[in-house]
Point group: C2
Chain length 336, copies 2
DNA sequence: TTGTAGGCGTTATCAC
DNA sequence: GTGATAACGCCTACAA
């Protein structure tokens, strides 16, 4: 493990000169620069991160928080972010929160201790007021989440319009008895809350009301997010006397579970029950009835936030700090 | 940011006493210990990693390398490892290699610079001889890969037997014209190589030979690993004059792609073409014909390697350094 | 049992 | 343009 003074010694200069060159600061003669560059490669030298961190220098590293990396939506998102970060020569560390505030705080602590220059939050567990305090230690970007703060770098899709379009599509096709699934624990909707799920619910309501319909409490399913959850949803639907004629799954995972279980229970999709997915993941093409779903531009979202964060880190002026990506319905076969 | 000397000052003791308490070393009076504990919580103090790293102390962090986090097999594996590491109070950082040697080396460099105490490699890109050199800086565990070195901590599934069982199952059901898919670039099989793919191929051959069959070069597909790859495989099969009657997909992803494309091309599974998956992921239950596949105990594998690594880090003596998990065929509907 | 002092590798400040 | 030197926060001999 060569150190900076090893390099200095070999190049016949002082450590400060080497340091200047490493961090390409001015006031260095080309001659010595060459000498040092030579010594560095000869020794295979690279600066020790830990020492830099102690000095409070940058780490060229970005942390990304996600709830669960096993959720394909997030693994794709992380992959996109990491790919772009890589191009900009930033390293990436992935932090799973498992929906726990403490894990999220761990990631934020990285900022405090200079382990990372920025954190991109693809899920938010703690109150924003708490999180915001960490921005004195480094940059915080928000991705796929909502924060009512015009200063933060934020990229997300237009969930309201997306869900509105999806619901409208079902309505236009003649469906009237719509079931609604959400990943959240309970539908705590109110007009003041700005978050992904409320936004989706808002879009759902807007479409419904255009048809003078009200949401049915009976047909609302909360806390569903996996394939297995989808299977359970369909079982409950199948056992109802008054069944919905369509179900808004909230994710392709859930939609896939619903369709698979429908198949085993011999319930015909879309004839007896239409299923609308969300995300448009590869999965949506391989289920028994390929999913009509709402396409999310995951890679564009990831690229955008990563580039914005990198820009800000490099001191570039950023014109728009918040970008909202459009969502659109992809028609396949799970809706008639 | 409270430092150790802030704590010392507040507690009215010296920094060394605080340090001893933090690292629960002997020779501390309970009275002072209480004082210090008090001061620590009052200040919200936590030791700065960077400073510890510079001293060469442990980081309580384990790096995990995977080729692509978007591959559900690996995201599940990582999740299992992280969960167990978390229980043992180790932090985890995920490093994607993207199949590139340089990215893998990055993870290994973490060892050198004390950023992590251990790295668990779930994919191996570089030569083992090169990798092994890094074990002077920290612990290296191997997961889901093969290394001919009795000293290394290693956990993987018995791919040979798994593939043998799967192939045998097809053979026993009367299939004789077996196609074979693999994720590797080309089938460079030889008896000396010990790796996951060779091992699988070995199992495939063993079963074939029991039926006096030879592998068909015509029906071997290399470099296939995604759903889209699977779709392409089916297209090629569909266009053949002499078609296989069964295909060993190598992964559930590929199997799902094959089945989806078969559906659009109106080719009946399993009547006209049987499909055997590998992994037994949730996906395998939602395709048009639920997959007959080979179950991999992903969580057990992840738990095992994480526990072994944690044990070794904590100086426990380890009885068996290599564990091989059994694989078994799960019968569903993609094979008649 | 406790405290003091030195050093880990780097960068920034100050002289020259 | 260049080079000493003092921090950064922590741990560990060594001394008391």
């Amino acid at each position: 493990m060569a150190t900076i003074s090893d390099v200095a010694k070999l190049a016949g200069v002082s450590v400060s000169t080497v340091s200047r060159i490493i961090n390409n600061k001015p006031h260095v003669s080309p001659r010595k620069a060459a000498l040092v560059a030579d010594a560095m490669t000869k020794l295979g030298y690279s600066p020790l991160q830990a020492a830099r961190q102690m000095r409070g220098s940058g780490s060229q590293t970005i942390a990304v928080t996600v709830p669960y990396i096993t959720n394909p939506f997030f693994s794709e998102l992380v992959a996109a972010i990491e790919r772009t970060a890589d191009e900009r020569s930033y390293k990436t560390v992935i932090v799973q929160t498992f929906g726990q505030k403490s894990h999220e705080l761990n990631a934020l602590e990285f900022l405090k201790t200079n382990q990372v220059d920025a954190v991109i939050m693809c899920a938010i567990e703690n109150d924003w007021d708490l999180i915001k305090q960490y921005s004195q230690y480094g940059l915080i970007g928000v991705c796929n989440e909502y924060v009512a703060d015009p200063d933060v770098l934020m990229v997300h899709a237009d969930q309201e319009s997306g869900m509105y379009a999806g619901t409208k599509y079902l309505l236009n096709r003649g469906y009237r008895k719509l079931a609604f699934c959400t990943g959240q624990q309970d539908i705590r909707f109110n007009d003041n809350i700005e978050d992904l799920n409320s936004d989706r619910y808002r879009g759902y309501l807007r479409a419904l009301r255009e048809f003078d319909l009200e949401p049915s409490v009976e047909w609302q399913f909360t806390d569903v997010s996996t394939i297995a959850d989808g299977q359970r949803v369909l079982q409950r639907i199948a056992s109802m006397k008054d069944r919905p004629d369509a179900v808004i799954a909230g994710s392709d995972q859930v939609a896939a579970g619903i369709i698979a279980e429908a198949q085993t229970l011999q319930l015909k999709v879309p004839q007896e029950l239409a299923v609308l997915g969300f995300d448009d993941q590869p999965l949506s093409q391989v289920v028994a009835q390929p999913l009509t779903t709402i396409h999310q531009p995951i890679h564009e979202i990831g690229d955008a936030i990563a580039n914005m964060v990198a820009d800000e880190l490099e001191g570039d002026t950023i014109d728009t700090r918040q970008v909202i990506m459009p969502l659109s319905v992809v028609v396949r076969q799970s809706v008639a």
